[in-house]
Symmetry: C2
Subunit: 257 residues, 2 copies
Amino acid sequence: MKKVLIIGIGAGNPDYVTMQAVKALNEVDVFFFLDKGEAKEDLVNLRTTICERFIKDRSYRTVEVESPQRDASTPDYKSGVHAWHRDKADIFSKLIGDELRDGEVGAFLVWGDPSLYDSTIRVIQQIVAERRVAFDYDVIPGITSVQALAAQHRIALNAIGEPVHITTGRKLTEGLPPGVDTAVIMLDNGSGLRALAGEDVDIYWGAYLGTADEVLVAGKLGDRVEEIEQLRARDRERKGWIMDTYLLRRSPANDRS
Amino acid sequence: MKKVLIIGIGAGNPDYVTMQAVKALNEVDVFFFLDKGEAKEDLVNLRTTICERFIKDRSYRTVEVESPQRDASTPDYKSGVHAWHRDKADIFSKLIGDELRDGEVGAFLVWGDPSLYDSTIRVIQQIVAERRVAFDYDVIPGITSVQALAAQHRIALNAIGEPVHITTGRKLTEGLPPGVDTAVIMLDNGSGLRALAGEDVDIYWGAYLGTADEVLVAGKLGDRVEEIEQLRARDRERKGWIMDTYLLRRSPANDRS
């Protein structure tokens, strides 16, 4: 039997790797590296650092493939994503089928945690459901940028006894559901940042969390939104990509509970 | 200057500890252990295992104190929690003031991640705001039971491009906000489990996640709720405490997006 490990390597800081992930890394025969666009160099560096730092006395192979790109021109977001996953499933099943021998362990390394806004688990499940190639798989959690954000700002995500809503920039532009006073926003292309700027909301923002390039901003959203937009533009220009995450919290005066 | 580290040690499995946490553990002079009720023995065992396994060539002191209990008879939940935090702040400031020498590092170990449904950061912030004792502090994230749940069930938390709502059993009994189709429930005393049992909802449930006692159940909520209630009753009886977490997802047919 072949085995595939989906390993969360944490959000940027190599030391976010768990002992469980380190043990898993040391069982891997073949790493499948999917390269994606602009962030490529930093991703490659993180992967390399983690493998070199934490894998001891073991030889492993690496197979690098170009990650398919989501066709952003597809009018329906979800059907675009489904087509993209299909492309990925084709690549993954070929990798597992051709590059992994029986009894070997293959691994996909996922930035952050595989359970949050990452397609790897879904793509693997699709291959399993279609019985395209026989293998077992396991998932190893990792520290997400949400947790890095909270730790670096030294804040709790939830208000006392209150929910935390994790959502995307795209969804935030439609507003927050009623009763939701705390939201963490991921995958924002910048469009979500001003969605609540007219309200009495605190923001805790972070980019390149856990890395040497980390930037943190906190304050009233209305006071900080311009500064954050400028930082976003500057760093995206400078580095070629940006990955940011932020928490929005309605002020306690508006607390409905 | 004194330093306090709030270290997330992950949800149950000692190997959920991150390399960052291991490095931090190896800088600690004094561990402050707060003992709480029934789960005490398992918590103590996890703490002991983690310290023994991951601290090398360093001597440290431990100070154990009884954790104050929240007065559950206080009619207003939040004022009860505030009074409880006040009691904790008294204890923490005494610990930091009396048990930690200048230049030393003290640590609170937090099950899971300090940013999610844990009071330590809030209590420390309160002491800092009141300038009761001078110290610096840092937060180190850990793997939460939410991530352990997703990894063990090998599922993504979010549906494609959709939000994830993290909430409590107490809040779930009031229903989910409109537009929320995926929720993760923590801190449920059992009352939340049947809140959506009449709807077409999938449940992914887990108790004692990451430990040798781990139990997982998945399926249609309506079909599984009785089994889960029986498991909860049995294990609570057997072990004296239960800690469970579950994900609820409305079926795709009801997907409103």
